[in-house]
């Protein structure tokens, strides 16, 4: 048995692995964006966008980005495989 951890199932092909890796990096990026040291650069009340302070608007933007990314991943998976098969995630 492998003693070292494996994050992605060996059953994934190269394209799948690349897409999942990109997704994980993206979501880590979203997390980093809403905490120190990135968020402080966008933490002021000015300017106001759609009437909402930048500090508030910024967080909303990342919720929406997260949603869009998840939706794209979900649709991509659906087009790729039979919906009942779940081999495209971390399923081993």
């Amino acid at each position: 048995m492998r003693k070292t951890p494996r994050f992605f199932s060996s059953r994934l092909d190269r394209v799948e692995r690349r897409v999942y890796r990109a997704a994980v990096v993206f979501f880590l990026g979203v997390f980093c964006a809403v905490v120190w040291p990135i968020y402080p650069r966008f933490a002021g009340a000015e300017p106001r966008l759609l009437g909402i302070p930048l500090s508030f608007f910024y967080v909303i933007v990342f919720i929406l980005l997260s949603f869009v990314a998840l939706l794209l991943l979900f649709v991509w998976e659906g087009n790729r495989r039979d919906p009942d098969e779940s081999g495209t995630d971390l399923e081993g």
Binding site: R6, V35, Y39, A45, P53, S55, I63, P83, L90, E91
Partner: protein, 488 residues
């Protein structure tokens, strides 16, 4: 007719509908533990979406969210920040959990971990941690329901009676219908809350300031510190970035592992349903935006409200609104409290019986007895939480502060379960205990604080190190057994 009677009538009508939905829905479940706890693993997207949505729309969000925006300003954005990625881990590990659940018949979180590590003791420890984290939350939801009744009837219904009425309804449908009662009432309650959140969130700034934009313009003028992230801390001083960021981090670590949500993974009909729930979860979060508008709307219009959590009911009852609207608000706030409280109640009873009583004390418990025990415990735990909510002088606030720190301790365990074959039972247990201990010690000693970092973060670090060191020092587990759980 006095306004409060009309308001009460609307609220009671809402409770009656909730009860009806809760009772009718349970008739479709099989009379087994799997039916009662995991809905026969047949829940569809709509119900799962609203069950998870209710996780955000608790009494905390409905009363505490506006309270935070009102008194601490931008600090309230942290709820949105952790939600942005909070459920994302599910997308990657939940399919595996669901599959293992089907294969081995799990309905709770600890069943999976205890099986992976072949340790009933681990199950017992997890049950204790879960119950310690659940009880203060449940108590808080009950208090919230009591206050809502109290405020809208202008004090005529005391808090204890309000909590008893709302949670009497919850007890009946959870006892009767199990997870399906929780799911379908949450769906009804969730739609209700969404409509109400947007309605009030747009209407109140419009009525009080002439719009959302003008409202923030005026706040920026009069109280700019509220709009500058990370806002203010509990005492009104600017909050530190260390405190804000580590609060977001600890919430992200723990959010997807709260045992009562985790066990909903088993209820999903299939993998696509599960993933779709994760995908659409952020849309639920957007409904928190108008909730925060409501809190900000009170800043200049109603200064000095104490406690800050009362800002929403205060605004609602201070401006002239038709009884129907106030009644709907009241029902919405109850929905927020009940939709979280019911899941907590249902999970507490299931965890206490399955993960503690059955796993540690009575492995040969027959299914029918088990289901009966769980239902009884729903009543017992409901009664206990009610006692703490209205009768006890003992404050559970301290436990509440600890609960997120505790739940985050499940993160290293989960990672080890799925990704590290070398992790051993001794390592898992020692990690949990070390993490819990460090969290408590750091909480008790403000002198150990550094940069305001959340005590749970130190706990997770200690947990991780202990888990690795102890695992490497103990004998590896049987390979064939571990291979069933670990990604390979």
């Amino acid at each position: 007719m006095p306004q409060w009677i009309a308001v009460l009538a609307v609220t009671l009508a809402y409770l009656a509908v909730s009860l009806l939905v809760g009772l009718v829905s349970g008739r479709r479940a099989s009379a087994s533990t799997e039916g009662y706890v995991a809905g026969d693993r047949a829940l569809g997207f709509l119900v799962l979406y609203f069950i998870m949505g209710a996780s955000i729309f608790s009494a905390f969000a409905f009363l505490g969210g506006p309270g935070w925006a009102y008194s601490r300003g931008a600090a309230a954005f942290y709820i949105l920040a952790y939600g942005a990625v909070g459920l994302v881990p599910w997308y990657f590990f939940a399919p595996r959990v669901a599959r293992l659940g089907r294969e081995h018949g799990y309905v709770t979180q600890a069943e999976l971990f205890a099986h992976r590590f072949r340790s009933p003791l681990l199950s017992g420890v997890l049950a204790v941690i879960s119950l310690a984290a659940f009880l203060p939350y449940l108590t808080l939801q009950m208090e919230g329901a009591g206050y809502v009744f109290n405020i809208v009837t202008e004090g005529r219904i005391p808090v204890w009676a309000g909590a008893a009425i709302a949670y009497g309804v919850v007890l009946i449908y959870v006892y009767r219908s199990g997870v399906l009662g929780v799911g379908w009432t949450n769906t009804f309650q969730g739609m209700f809350m969404m409509a109400l959140a947007w309605g009030l969130g747009i209407y109140l700034p419009l009525r009080l300031y002439g719009g959302v934009g003008p409202m923030f313009d005026q706040i920026a003028e009069a109280a700019p510190e509220l709009l500058q992230a990370p806002g203010l801390d509990g005492s009104g001083e600017p909050w530190s970035w260390g405190g804000y960021s580590s609060s977001v981090a600890i919430s992200v670590l723990g959010f997807s592992l709260w045992p009562h949500y985790f066990m909903k993974i088993y209820t999903a009909r299939d993998i696509r349903t599960l993933k779709k729930t994760v995908v659409f979860y952020p849309t639920f979060l957007i409904f928190l935006v108008p909730i925060l508008f409501i809190g900000f709307s009170g800043v200049l219009a109603f200064p000095g409200v104490e406690p800050a959590d009362a800002i929403l009911p205060t605004v609602i009852t201070s401006i002239e609104l038709p009884a129907l609207v106030v009644g709907l608000f009241c029902a919405g706030a109850l929905a927020a409290s009940m939709s979280t409280g019911d899941a907590l109640l249902h999970a507490s009873a299931s965890v206490a019986v399955k993960d503690f009583y059955r796993a540690v004390l009575r492995p040969e418990l027959p299914d029918a007895t088990e289901r009966r025990l769980i239902r009884w415990l729903v009543l017992v735990i409901g009664g206990l939480a009610y006692y703490f909510a209205v009768a006890s002088e003992l404050s559970l606030v301290y436990l509440l502060l600890l609960s997120y720190g505790f739940v985050a301790q499940l993160a290293p365990l989960s990672v080890a379960t799925f990704f590290w074959p070398r992790a051993t039972p001794a390592g898992a247990l020692a990690g949990l205990l070390a993490g819990g201990l460090v969290t408590v010690v750091w909480n008790l000693n403000p002198g150990l604080q550094w940069q305001d970092i959340h005590p749970g973060i130190w706990g997770v670090a200690a947990n991780l190190i202990t888990l690795v060191v102890v695992s490497l020092a103990t004998r590896p587990m049987d390979e064939a057994h571990v291979a069933r759980f670990v990604v390979s």
